[in-house]
């Protein structure tokens, strides 16, 4: 039994395996299938200031080795999230850390969501800022692909809350290290990466895109090598804890991210096919560390030999 506990920005987790935002709902839907007390943390689906209906269907399409999605961030809005029994009140009863993923279409919206969560923060371990959304006020440029905007979002959210802050980086940039440094300087305690990669699939018979939104974000095993490379580069750029994700299905995949420099890992798309994979990944990391004679999971973080 290796010691799997990790500490992210002062936050102690029993192990490094975290559910990725948008792939685990608000927890309740998987309550029968996944023992929460075996997970490091749960990240809930993105919450915004106002309720959001999301995109028209079809919203996802299976592709070779991956999944395209354009859900469009459907969510009940922050007030319902805080007070409806299916959301935060339920999450307050589970024995695992809860990370709340937040988004907005303007800097003010991000800050306001953070403020409202901060005001009733019992049961919330950290906020994860999803900066991969378009800024409506600034002509739809994604916050996560503009250094100036990314820094400003994080600075304003930092002022709005005392909760630990994770910033979820977009992979849609040339130099991921630059963005990691930028959000850390702006006050982010942790960085997580990667979000989905913009992509497209076409039905050749109907000649129409497979998603109503035309394009969507690619996730799953197909993106794993890209994600490992970006975690490795982010590790060179910043000293704060990193949550690495993108295509993790097994303990071996998770260990690859840890060696690349991640302190913890997110598991997303793999849950859809196999909710049991979460516990298998935890147990598999443990078994592998034992086999290697490594007493603590932190001993292998960044251990890639180059």
């Amino acid at each position: 039994m290796a010691d799997l506990s990790v500490t992210l920005a002062g936050l102690a987790l029993r192990n490094p395996v975290i559910t990725a935002s948008g792939t685990f709902g608000y927890g309740a839907d998987y309550a029968d299938l996944v023992p929460f007390e075996r997970l490091g943390a749960i990240t809930v689906k993105g919450v915004s200031l106002a309720p959001c209906r999301g995109n028209p269907p079809p919203r996802t399409a299976e592709v070779f080795g991956g999944l395209l999605n354009a859900i469009g961030l459907q969510n009940p809005g922050v007030d319902k999230f805080l007070h409806d029994s299916r959301y935060l009140p339920f999450l307050r009863t589970v024995d695992t850390a809860v990370f709340v993923n937040i988004w907005g279409t303007s800097i003010e919206e991000y800050a306001e969501v953070a403020r409202r969560l901060d005001a009733e923060s019992e049961g919330i371990a950290a906020l994860e800022i999803n900066i991969s959304c378009p800024n409506i006020k600034h002509g739809g440029i994604a916050f996560g692909t503009d250094l100036g905007l990314a820094g400003r979002v994080v600075r304003e959210v930092r002022k709005a809350t005392r909760l630990p802050l994770i910033t979820k980086l977009s992979p849609n940039v040339t130099d991921i290290g630059e963005f990691a440094r930028c959000v850390v300087e702006a006050g982010s305690d942790v960085v997580s990466l990667i979000n989905t990669i913009p992509a497209m699939a076409i039905d050749i018979e109907t000649r129409r895109p497979k998603l109503a939104n035309v394009t969507g974000g690619l996730s799953g095993p197909a993106i794993k090598p890209v994600a490992v490379r970006m975690v490795y580069q982010a590790r060179q750029a910043v000293d704060v804890p990193i949550i690495g994700m993108g295509g993790i299905q097994s303990a071996a995949d998770a260990l690859e991210f840890l060696l690349a420099g991640a302190d913890a890992v997110g598991v997303g798309t793999a849950i859809f096919a196999d909710p049991g994979c979460l516990v298998r990944i935890v147990d598999g990391i443990d078994a592998c560390l034992d086999r290697w004679g490594v007493p603590h999971v932190r001993d292998i973080v960044g251990g890639v030999i180059v």
Binding site: T23, G25, D29, R53, G54, P57, T60, F272
Partner: protein, 262 residues
């Protein structure tokens, strides 16, 4: 309660055309399932495909723990499933979805079904306290499923084929219209099949002030309500009168009165 159960395939045979029947030993889900619910099925040996496939539970034998599905080969996953040997372990999530409500003993219930929709309504007919009228449609006689099995349950079956190769020449909803206008007591209508058929069923019953329970087919991802892939529009108390709900959790069975057809 949702379960993840590793079932063992008992038999997996072609029944007609592109349709197959798969019997699984899955005692936990077989004993818990209600009519109209589905199982989210991992296809063995399809590692480059990242999702499960949803199939309605066609029939069960709670005594032996058998659970059966009927599937049509339409793509890579179902083709792979058809090639799965008996004895293969197959992971199921289930039972999922809301399912149909059983008719009361004094009801006059009717099933309207097409294609693999005939499988989704079978357990409903089996567990019903009163025999069903069953209207089955298809393009031609080769597409008519389970006619004998419904009759063996004591149901009265009428069929329609678009090419006239068996029964009424035309669509199955012609038979429903005849029945609705035949002057009998107002029936309780249940339907599962292609979307065009379900839309027609909803229009027919709504036009006569009746309702129906219709089971919708929608691409799914998680199957348990977590990802918001499978949404459909339903009428709701919102400023513009509708909202998106999840087919896998709030459905797949919806009331004709709440459905929106565009």
């Amino acid at each position: 309660m949702k379960n993840e159960e590793t079932a063992r395939s008992l038999r997996n045979d072609r029944i007609q055309g592109d349709y197959y029947r798969l019997d699984l030993e899955a005692p936990v889900i077989a004993r818990a399932v209600r009519p109209g619910q589905f199982v989210h099925t991992q296809i063995p040996g399809l590692a480059h495909r990242v999702l499960r496939r949803p199939f309605s539970v066609f029939d069960t034998d709670p005594a032996t723990g058998r659970l059966s599905i009927i599937y049509k080969v339409v793509g890579e996953g179902t083709a792979r499933l058809a090639a799965t040997a008996p004895g293969t372990p197959i992971s199921l999530l289930g039972p999922l979805g809301n399912g149909f409500s059983l008719p009361s003993a004094d009801a006059f219930p009717v099933i309207v079904a097409g294609g693999f929709g005939c499988a989704a309504t079978f357990l409903l007919a089996r567990r019903s306290p009163v025999p069903f009228r069953v209207l089955i449609g298809g393009r031609s006689v080769a597409d008519l499923l389970l006619v004998r099995e419904y009759r063996e349950l004591g149901c009265t079956v009428r069929v329609a084929t678009e090419d006239g190769s068996r029964g009424h020449r035309g669509v199955v909803t012609d038979l429903l219209a005849q029945l609705l206008d035949g002057g009998g007591p107002p029936p309780r209508v249940y339907a599962c099949g292609p979307n065009a058929m379900l839309g027609a069923v909803c229009r027919l019953v709504s036009g006569r002030g009746l309702d129906a329970e219709v089971s919708l087919d929608h691409v799914m991802c998680c199957g348990v309500g977590a990802c918001y892939t499978c949404v459909v529009k339903v009428l709701a108390d919102t400023p513009d009168g509708w909202e998106y709900v999840r087919t896998c959790l709030d459905g797949p069975v919806f009331r004709a009165r709440e459905t929106v057809w565009e």
